[in-house]
Amino acid sequence: MAPMNREFLDDFVTEAREHLSTAEEDVLAIERDGADVDSETVNRLFRAVHTVKGGAGLLELRSIQDLSHSLENVMGRIRNKTLNPDSDVTERLLRGLDRLSFLIDNVEDETIDTSAEVAALREILDGQKAATGAAAPVPEASGAATFPAFDLSKYDLSEAIEQGQTVFECLIDLSTECAGKGRSLREMGELLRSIGTLIDSSRDLSSQAVTGQGAAPCSVLFTSVIDDVDIISEGLGVSFVKHKAYKPSELPKPGKAAKARKKADAQSRDEEQGGRSAEAAQVVAEPVPPKATPAAEPLAGQRPSAAAENSGAPSRERRGAEQTVRISLPLLDQILNLAGELVLVRNQNMQAVASRDLERISAIGQRLNVVTTELQTSIMQTRMRPVGGVFSRFTRVVRDLARKLGKEIDLEIIGSDVELDKSIVESIADPLTHLIRNAADHGIESPADRQAKGKAAVGHVRLSAFHESGQVNIQITDDGKGLDPAGLKRAAVRKGVLPQEQADILTDREAYNLIFAPGFSTAEAVTDVSGRGVGMDVVKSAFQKLGGAVDISSAVGKGTTITIKLPLTLAVLPSLIVTVEKSHFAIPQVNIDEVVWLHGHEVYQDIQVVDNREVYRLRGRLFPLLRLSEVLGMARTFSAPDEGVEVPDRRRPMPDRRQGDAKESDDRRDGPVERRTSLLNSVYIIVVKLGGQQFGVVVDRLVDTEEIVVKALHDQLKSCRAFSGTAVLGDGRIAMILDIAAVADLGGIRYAEVDEEERSSRRSSEDSQTVLLFDTGGHEQFALPLSLVRRVEEVSMARIQIANDREYLNFRNELVPLVRIEKAIPSFAARYPDEQIHVVIPKAGRPIGIVAARILDTIEVSCDLDVGTVHSPGVVGSKLIDGRLTLFLDVIDIVERVEPDWFTSAHEGQSTAARILLVEDSSFYQALVRSYLRGIGADVRVAGDGVEALELLASESFDGIVSDLEMPRMGGIELARRVKATPELAHLPMVAISSADESYARSDAMDAGFLAFQPKYDPDGMLQAVTSILRISTTA
């Protein structure tokens, strides 16, 4: 390679990438719109390639120049509408552009071959020539032997070179160009002089003669500021049989002084032979009518100064645009302003310090805080890049893939302008490509399959980016065949990803996430199941490395959505600083769900050991714990109470010593208090999430939350594996930043295990209810779902009136009878305060009040009630809430014990109460829904699952069915199908209640024959639905 100026080369690469970044999209637009394509698109494309060619020419990057020239030729034809851009043409253009980008990425590698691409492009033009036959066939032999005919070393070309002009040698067929167009040789010469400087010609171009048929072709040598022979040809209305544009390297070298200075008046001239004849691009131009030459355009890419040659040795390292960042001027100005402000603050600070004015110093401190934050934000901004840069490439990926697979796929891109840190944008390209390819390859069906399923033949893939709660979400949605949970489970069991028992209890959503499990991704899984899975664990971990998370949702036959959540930036990390022993660690906030403080006896009570692993139960969720000190292998010390010195702690962590009876630990809350149960021995559990998984990290102490500046890890520390970086804290200490994924790995938390915890936690969060906690002054604590409570009144005893041995509350001028729980169920004790009591008025028919001594709390609890332990009338089940035994009341039962006819008399208008079959497996919901239904006067029978329901339906008659969807043995969907299939039952109106994801479950339920679908958390909606369908059934 010729020596070149390093700086120019870098500039060229950066600029070329920028120009080519839109080229691909433009070609795709051309392909889409065909001949009707917007001319601006073609022009932009043409300019982009042209500029690259110009730069490459100046820097003597021969292959780039050749290839871009070929591309330009084809684009030129498209631009002047002489070439119809069919898919074959665009395919070749795309290939050529790919190669061009590759050349630019490896700009210093001269060995890359481009002949295939150049030939492919040339074929287009040749083919067109043959097809149109517009141009006269060129006698190959004529003059070919003598082309190029001129020995450049004989000419003084220095001026042209200095001015960055291009030297052309062209062969003109005089029979067509002169005789055929009625021009004399002289006119031909003048034409050529009009566009540049005519240096020499093989024929005398001053004669007036019009040369006719059979005349020998004439070679001309001329220079021009226009570097594109097609434009010259077009502009002059002269077709060249052959032409050659000499590259700067082929020209005689001007002297060294001129090189260095790029002055026009070069002194010495080198007589060195420069003309190494490379193959000239042979192009036959169209006979296009002459028109004004857009001379300015070809100049756009030219910088004569760049022709100056420097003799810097080419370096081996790859140069690339990724080393530089372009910053918008307003942003730079803003940063400069802030820097100026910072200097101002410093000056003020120095004055204030000198005068020891504490008040001013603290004011300046605040100012410093503001300026620093702003400066930091602005500088971060310089690293932000729109995701569009990555997104745009997928149009091509999807197009190529669709073409290869014989599918029709439409890729919709939304939110290209959403910005992410440069490093993140660069790192998401590969995993995203994987996901997009998967969506196109395995998600979208073939057009025939799609039509058979009643879908549009064209598949749709949507790639969108949007902001949500301080993070960027990227979503890939396809409308393909979706994932089949059952198939996924089967495959997972077969692959040994998880045992059958676990697979059986997975929800659909958990089943989808199986595709991210390591070991699941095999080619076999792809053919068996619905297709996805190759390397998906790698994709997931790639996003996790960036601090992101991946989730997936799907519906069979409808499509799949993959959601990726990513942090905006990696450089500054909001973190929680914790200590273990004397060491500080930073845990990124994005990983943290919540923090739990356990102290005193709670440490023993709430941490249990299951299967040799410590677990913690938090609001019904159970998740594994990792003691950071153990994971990191740190020696434990404790403060000896007497001496106050740190000594090695030889004891094992407390719960280890009672592994045997760990299962009963719930009942051990009054267990023996040991010496270590002081505040000093409190622990903090940092509940962290990793993707969809959750576990607890036990640390000694919390320090603070801090926005830490991440410093990369020393190479020698990478083998520790537990850390992702270091940070200097505000007090000058160094904290290691924990890599939560690595900590989980070191702590031996396996996928299935975390999934198990996750599953139970998710189930509870889905099936959870807010309950009102109250007591009657006795030992028991009672709970009532808040959705059943109409009102809670604090009343003084004075407002309570007694008549006929019954208590009534004067409530809004209405007498509301009061029920005391201990009267209904004598086994409960009660001791009410003398002055004030509370009255809970449930939503159940006519108002009635339940007397409470104290209202304790409202709390969200999971609905997995213990129905076996406490057997008592009026009680649905029990549950430990905050360590206290809590009884869930059956309001209807309690009221009826005191007022037996309360509910039936409430609906006297109705001749017979509607009989409703409630199908529900959870005893809690049984009680809850039954209460609702009794409240509207319905007579309710309960079945635990579909099988039981069918038995009841066979023996009794009902007016309607309210059913849960997910139940053991037989679920609601199957039940509905069977009911609809049984002639004598088919008329029964059915309402589905479910906590499943509404978007998918609703349509399934409706398909199966339910008249209405109600989420479980919406009792009012459910009651409305039930009332309306009962009305339908009575009128029908």
Binding site: M634, A712, S719, R721, T726
Partner: protein
């Protein structure tokens, strides 16, 4: 008594407030904060197969130049391999700092033969200073040997 080529030393700092790094190699003492820079502290004694040195009031850290800094100062010396010095600052924990002495290249004698094989490449030579022998260490070699072992462990 040990010596380093002063060209590779960036500074000597009395800050030995070392943050230990759990799970790190034994020869790594931890990290120190030198004016906001996080510097890795290595213990040469451990590298030489001896017990770790205790940190005393006299202890100091000898901070080495990074590859980039050395590339600037050693531009004229193509033989000098800057790569082992890495892109992040590293320092050695030393018991105390003696003096800066000048030794002509001819004064540096080859390392004595009784040095253990594995340590011999860490030593550039020996200089006699007033009857006392100063072992001149080859910082680049020490770092290079650590780097390779560190990487090997990282892959395991």
């Amino acid at each position: 008594m040990y010596g380093f080529d002063i060209d590779v030393v960036k500074e000597v700092n009395p800050n030995t407030d070392i943050t230990t790094v759990p799970r790190s190699e034994p020869y790594i003492r931890g990290l120190v904060n030198i004016r906001g820079q996080v510097v890795l502290v290595m213990d040469i004694a451990v590298i030489f197969g001896r017990e770790p040195r205790p940190v005393t009031v006299e202890s100091q850290v000898v901070i080495l130049k990074t590859a980039e800094e050395l590339a600037r100062t050693h531009r004229d010396d193509p033989e000098f391999d800057v790569q082992p010095f890495g892109d992040k600052p590293v320092c050695f924990l030393v018991d105390r700092i003696g003096d800066v002495v000048t030794a002509a290249a001819s004064e540096i004698e080859p390392p004595p033969s009784h040095l253990k094989d594995r340590n011999v490449r860490h030593v550039r030579g020996v200089v006699n200073r007033g009857g006392e022998l100063v072992v001149v260490l080859n910082a680049g070699e020490i770092l290079a040997s650590r780097k390779s072992s560190g990487n090997a462990l990282g892959q395991g």
